[in-house]
Symmetry: C2
Subunit: 167 residues, 2 copies
DNA sequence: CCATAATAGTTATAAACTATAATCATTTCA
DNA sequence: TGAAATGATTATAGTTTATAACTATTATGG
């Protein structure tokens, strides 16, 4: 019986790749799953001319009107310099406005525009329906577990290596 | 009582950013968690002069001696052209050897060297101990669930959007 | 009060990662 | 045998991420 299994394995010369060693690593699995999701999500957002970063930026501006660029950049774990061009784009497209803070003339508060609100609404719906189809193969319990575990991990990590989660 | 809570909230003007909307999105959570893990893993591998991609390449070559570049690239979801320089590096460092396949002179089989085996051993240990400390805050059951769910998602995705999981 | 440090936003730039087209040699197959 | 397909490569461009340095403004401690 173990023989027949070995026989089968031998019949597959190098055709199928054994990646069990990597499958055992949670970090690797999460990365692969994350990549697939991001790629899929990107396709969902593309018709709206949004990327992950512009989408999440819109969401946080809607939920935090008047927020400053640096706060937003920190929340999204993106370097401030790289975030400038993101905001530039959203402002240029009339989705977001920069208003100078009267109490601190260095800073700008970010606000959503009417067009931005419309796009936000559509995008949220698209992403949510995307998530549903993505997790269609999971039971309600599994989804709950996944969500809980991810949030727990994030909480744990955030308190440890707060800034600069990339590199 | 609700008053005192509101009072506290009011004392934090724009200091704390509300990102509940994003926290509700599993895709976003996974991405954030994945980013933290990759960044942390990178730090673990850096002393060995390995990156995630060179580490995973080493592992798969050890587990699949004689594997071809194109198979390996497909397994790791990296474009073949981008993979050439990875293998170049590993060969240059004496960790991996390319042997021409006698049955197909276009192809090379990839093999680990003695130095490669040594590094592989050390790296596997480092990554595993990294994973343990990473998941220290999860119960055994939670770890099991996490692993199971990730594998399930990966299985599901792979059969759907097999190639080109990025973009 | 003023010099110094710190902060918000920005510019410039480089490194790393990812994607695509095209080429060469070789193999497969009608 | 000729055309199509495959393995590896080169060249190249786009995207993302990181870092240093600058301007303007605000905060702080002597």
């Amino acid at each position: 019986m173990a023989d027949s299994i070995q026989k089968k394995l031998d019949q597959i010369p190098v055709e199928s790749v054994s990646d069990e060693s990597l499958t055992l690593l949670v970090g690797y699995n999460i990365k692969r799953v994350s990549n697939v999701i991001q790629s899929d999500l990107a396709k969902t957002l593309k018709p709206l001319d949004l990327r992950m970063i512009t989408f999440t930026t819109l969401v946080l501006i809607v939920d935090n009107p008047g927020i400053r660029q640096s706060q937003l950049a920190a929340s999204l774990s993106i370097e401030r310099p790289n975030f400038v061009v993101i905001i530039d784009e959203l402002v240029r497209r009339g989705l977001v406005t920069r208003k100078q803070d009267p109490s601190d003339r260095r800073a700008y508060g970010l606000y959503i525009s009417t067009a931005g609100q419309r796009l936000h609404k559509v995008a949220i719906r698209a992403v949510q329906s995307h998530e549903n189809s993505l997790l269609a193969h999971l039971s309600a319990q599994q989804r709950q577990q996944l969500s809980t575990t991810m949030n727990l991990l994030r909480q744990t990590f955030m308190t440890q290596h707060s800034p600069g989660e990339r590199s």
